[in-house]
Amino acid sequence: MRDGKLDSTYLKRIIKTIGKENVITEYEDRICYSYDGTFQRGIPEVVVFPGNTGEVAEIIKLANIEHIPVSPRGAGTGLSGGSIPEAHGIALVLTRMNKIKEISKEDLMAVVEPGVITGHFHQEIEKMGMFYPPDPASLKTCTMGGNVAENAGGPRAFKYGVTKDYVLGLEVVTPTGEIMRTGGRTVKNVTGYDLTRLLTGSEGTLGIITEITVRLLPKPKDKKTALVYFDQLKDAAKTVTSIIYEGVIPATIELMDRVTINCVEKYTKQGLPLDVEAILLMEVDGSPAQVAEDIQIIEDVCKRNNCRNTEIASAYEERERLWKARRAVSSAIVQLKPTKISEDATVPRSKIPEMVKSLKEIGTKYQLHLPVFGHAGDGNLHPNILADKNDHDEMERVEKAVGEIFQAALALGGTLSGEHGIGIMKKPYLQWELGEVGLNYLRAIKKAVDPNNILNPGKIF
């Protein structure tokens, strides 16, 4: 571990490369780059804001000379500690590189710099009648570069897939400071190893993403939303599988359990029934005819599965009203306890009822608040543990509970992380899923491309 001080000769060379105004050295300012959306911390020795690919490459070359660790960072909204400068060194922030370089309606693709804010990108292409589906909850803040590095998902993943399904090509600064291009502008491309996919989700350990080419879709013409109440959680779960059996793929299927519903109602007072066990929020999109047919099937399936009540909306304001409860979840559940530990263990869709049952048992066993809500369509439930980070006893129980959540997910054929990444938070559990052989394979790749272990050392494994 480094002593937290950067050699002044190297600092001078960094300043010469990118300009004094783009380098932060004061301790108070560096503290503000020590965190992300987790409770992990690591204070960088210097924070740099390069303005182009060449500057990024120069900084990485300098870092290689003295073996200074570099942690790439976008908006710092990650939920696994991926951007935390755990090994100190350089925090390399890419937010200045925030240009949308090209949007092509003919080729249905766009080229962006890594610092472009995802929500802003959505707005710009939607104005032109196109659609980029990945929609992580932090989309108003998070960056495209961060989304690629973490392979971010979102509620629409069930129908539309996640970030990796849209990345066609990348420009990357390698861990030794060279500039490389992967993939390209075509949907089909089998030339060489698929490095685009390897780098997507590499959590800043294999390269720094400096340009992204993504494919786009035409914007769906219509949308309808359904909010459905269930007396029994198992009926809600069965509804999800039945809808898919009928050949309907909703853009989103969001589930809320009773604890979550109670918190939301206490908070928003919108008149949600407190005696139901589950709420499903579903949205279908596509052509008006398709949407009308799909929503009818959903309504029928819900009735067959003993739903109590169904509300359907198509106008924007009405749809927003139905979304109100789901959007309030995050604020509502902190009423229970202030510290929120968000997990994203994911199971095959058919195992959702079993996973929910296991989560309830884990919550009871460790006496923790554990509301369950999330993306039921893709099995990516978001069990959130609410605790108080200053209560050490409780935090120890949280740690044990998290371990058991992962075990439960793996036992059901699931995975540790659906969309948040491994980072620091899930590192101790990686072997459970990958085994020694899998881990060694990752280590071998890392060692081959980053011989000096410069890029985000200590992350993932």
Partner: protein, 413 residues
Amino acid sequence: MEYKYQDILKKCSRCGGCQAHCPLFAETGREPYVARGKIELIENLQASNIQWNDRLAEIFSTCLLCGSCSENCPNEVEVVKLVQMSRKDLMAARGLPIIKKNIFQHLLKYDGRLKTVGKLLAFYQKSGVQKLARGTGILSLFPMQLAEKERILPRISGKAFRDTYPDETGLKSPRLKVAYFTGCVTNLVTPKVGASVLKVINSNNVEVIIPKQYCCGVPALASGEIGVGKFLAEENIKYFKDLDVDYIIMDCATCLSTWLEYPELLKSQDAEHLAKKVMDINRFLIEVIDIKLNPPQELGIKVTYHDPCHLKRTPGGKSNPRELLKHLNPNYQFVEMALADRCCGSAGSFNLTHYDLSQKVAKHKIESIAKSKAEIVASACPSCIMQLNHSLQNSGSKVEAKHVIELVAECYK
């Protein structure tokens, strides 16, 4: 920091959502200037990892207290309170900057002295000394864009509003009786706004009392000088508590929001009681009076509206001023502009201490106003109006910023 604020601190999960809503982060792109960074620093201060120093003083002064972050925070972290409490801690640790200290200790606490300074400024502006100072370029010798800052100072009225009007208007059988808290800007800078308030209220058969009063205290409170803030709050409560009135009306959104905080600040029953009577002039005219207007002409002048941060979060704070402007049809035609509720960057003395940054924030608003094609931008906070006029002039715009009540007053002879 007090225990209550610990609970607020704990709520922040560092999700970073505040970045999307902070006008200063939009300009700087740097974490220390957004709520999340400041909260991390507060926790580090509490853990004694860092101590108050120049850099922290600068970081904590770089906040508009506009509250956009809190309004959009999934965990509803009350950032404005945290920043104010931090400024209080900072002041306790290091004292106030000498200029602010002098203003708070020697001016705000003495209504008479404040008036005298107003008169001196008016003399400076009217006597030709200002012209001389600007003409000779002597201002450019001073640091920190003093030349531009000097221009941000509004034209001070020679005579204070409260000295011009009697304490009571003396209607025969008024339907209601209100006390008018004028605020300093209306009193010293824009007496026209005060005159408009009186004209409109009297014409609706409502008796107005203008009691003795002090500054509401916001300049001191926002800077962490809680002692002076409390003193001023207590003085104001003293002069208003025994009045037999139905409401206390205000034309200044900032004074209003400060009064609404008096109960928490003073923890007194009087403050509690009076805060319930406090009402913004727009709300009073729409919700209490149910005002009917006969606009004198049919000019169809386009007018848009800027939401003061301190008004938009109070009951009816967004709807009532717009409703009032719509009552002015057909003389004025209300048009909504984009970013209407984004902070204008004034933030009390922020536009003096951080002139460049403040003007960058204002620029978005000025562009929005231009796109709306309005000829007038109305608002309901005198300090927003000063900032808007300054920035409009800087950009060479012909649009004028006015208080809603000035436009309403045109309907009365």
